[in-house]
């Protein structure tokens, strides 16, 4: 009886699938959804599992996410252990053959670029560090371009019928992106050598690109919330090296940064971090625009 109804459901499912379908993309973070949309246009239908106001390290494997992953043709995530607390479980629960780790429908962006802060020997006393390096790669425009190229190749692989369309959109993107990078870099010359305190090491690729020096973290260890004793210690760091700003992301708790800012007068710059993190960061381009403009507005 149960087998019979399962068979009926299987049949129903195959019947209700449209013959021609868009590529369903399950993106873990908004930046990958946006890039998939740039490349895919009308050929894809993308969903982002998280928003810029959510900490991507700490997402629950919610029923709604399983339902979204159920019929995805592709998952695009950061990888490098960023989503280790929820993605593997979602993949098992969704039981979707097309997007398992061995399939072309499984795309981890950070696997395609060199990573900063790769640790040879780690243990948990160092905090919640990612063994394979810092996963927050999307704020370096060069790495981002490399990822977009790999993503284009993967889309072509999954949906060869629209290969020309993906290639065309990609070529458009390169031209625009390279022009933007030149503009951002000329604007950001003034940021070179500025000093920052960061909440978490999720700015490393941005600061590395713009030659901003990160002198301290608000987190005593990666992944641990700021403690009062650590903040007190930071006071002397501030006195010695006079940083220009404290960088936090829209999703991060501002309390520790506020305390330090009140004590020292160093401005807090709350950056969007990803698309949707502030009202005017609506696209991948405006995300970079807003980020650089906010940094420039806070230097003397």
């Amino acid at each position: 009886m149960i087998f019979k109804s399962l068979i009926i459901f299987t049949l129903l499912q195959s019947v209700t699938l449209p013959v021609w379908a868009e590529i369903n993309v399950f993106a873990c973070e908004p930046e990958w959804k946006a890039l998939a949309e740039i490349l895919g246009g009308n050929n894809i239908n993308a969903f982002s599992a998280t928003t810029a106001l959510q900490d991507p390290h700490h997402i629950e494997a919610r029923p709604s996410l399983i339902a979204k992953m159920r019929n995805a043709d592709m998952v695009i995530c950061t990888g490098a252990e960023l989503e280790i607390g929820w993605l593997p479980l979602l993949l098992r629960k969704a039981a979707n053959a097309r997007i398992q780790a061995s399939q072309p429908g499984y795309f981890m962006a950070a696997e395609h670029v060199d990573k900063l802060e790769v640790h040879k020997n780690i243990d948990r006393s160092m905090g919640d560090v990612h063994a394979s390096g810092n996963p927050h790669v999307h704020l370096d425009p060069y790495r981002l371009l490399k990822i977009v190229e790999k993503l284009k190749n993967r889309l072509v692989n999954i949906d060869p019928a629209n290969a020309d369309a993906y290639q065309h959109k990609f070529e458009q993107f390169i031209v625009d992106w390279k022009r933007n990078v030149t503009q951002w870099e000329s604007k950001a010359v003034k940021l070179k050598g500025k000093k920052a305190i960061v909440y978490h090491r999720n700015w490393s690729y941005l600061t590395d690109w713009l030659n901003i020096d990160v002198i301290a973290d608000l987190e005593p260890k990666p992944g641990l919330p700021p403690t009062s004793s650590h903040l007190v210690r930071l006071l002397s760091v501030v006195k010695q090296s006079k940083p220009d700003f404290i960088l936090i992301a829209a999703y991060q708790d501002a309390k520790g940064a506020q305390w330090l800012s009140n004590k020292t007068g160093i401005p807090i710059v709350t950056l969007p971090f990803t698309i949707g993190g502030s009202a005017n960061a609506e696209t991948i381009k405006s995300l970079y625009d807003v980020t650089i403009n906010q940094l420039l507005a806070n230097i003397k």
């Binding site: 299987t10 959510q54 339902a67 043709d73 429908g105």
Partner: protein
Amino acid sequence: MKFLNFYASAFALALFSAEIFASNFNPEIGVILDGAYKQGETALSGAEEGFSLGHTELTLSSPIDDLFYGRFTAVLESHDGNTEVGLEEAYLQTTGLPSNLSIRAGRFLSQVGYLNGRHTHSDAFSERPAVYRALLGSHYFDDGVQMNMLMPTPFYWRAGLEVLNGTQLSGSNHDETAGVYTLSTKFGDDIGTSQSWQAGFSYLYNRLTDIDISEEHEEDHGHESGHDGHNHSANYMGKNLYIADVVWKWSPNGNAREEQVALSAEYLYADKLNRFAASNDYHKGWYVSAVQRLSSVWSVGARYGRADLKDAHGDHFHDQQIEESNLSLSWSHSHFSTVRLMYTHQTTDGFSASGNAMTLQYVVSLGAHGAHDF
């Protein structure tokens, strides 16, 4: 189009598998250390007074190949100075079957109810609710097969079937090849970005109440079947067990790290207790739980539950009742360590132990720490 995709995928598989599996040769190894100090004695409790070790778990898990995932959990428990090794999970699960079908085989936690399928170390309280301890032996795992399917709906809808041996529930060996069957379904979705919910219904059919093992079982444990933490089997059984469960969670903008409210409730009902049972002989119980994460470090929880039970004595039953309230305060230094203080207040009828207890517990995780269910 779909066919084209399929062939393209099959071809591409060969290209991508090499780079992806390169880092996955070793299984993930995780250890849970769980210890407590308990002051006061409570009915139907698995935790001993004074210092005790709870579930010390060793878990290994890994993808086996592109079709199977495997998981192994050994549990070490200490009772009256003896250390026992138990096997709680040893299963393989498919990951790539068509139509979102998944099959699990081996030993695993039954997916009935909300709490049962979850690992106890992820709970917000030091012990499962009284009705779980009575009817499911705290958490019911067994040998068998599980099959699940996701329905093609825009919200989450899973339907599942399990065929299980039943030995771990009845606590006795028997000749049946399949003593327990379960059917369960779960629904769930989000409401906006801040709220998520899940509701489920489960049915567990226990054939072993027909087979005359209940009397033998009772002789083993004597009259005070209620005070037995040593055995994992359920102390109270029924041929039919029905469970309804609901969970609702809220966090600001869906950012659960700093702040979250989680409400959950379950109702359990078991009838046809054995061949002597009349129509008004049944077990029932429920609990409601509220847990609030105040920051990434602190969380508080409150839980109230009761269970109305029938204790079998040959051809008749004695009524038993237990009401339990818990308050808990948890401190997590990191994602991998938690220290919890829990206060338990019980009012019982038909049990020798009753009253208040304080438990100070630690739960820490070493090595790989898998994701938790919603």
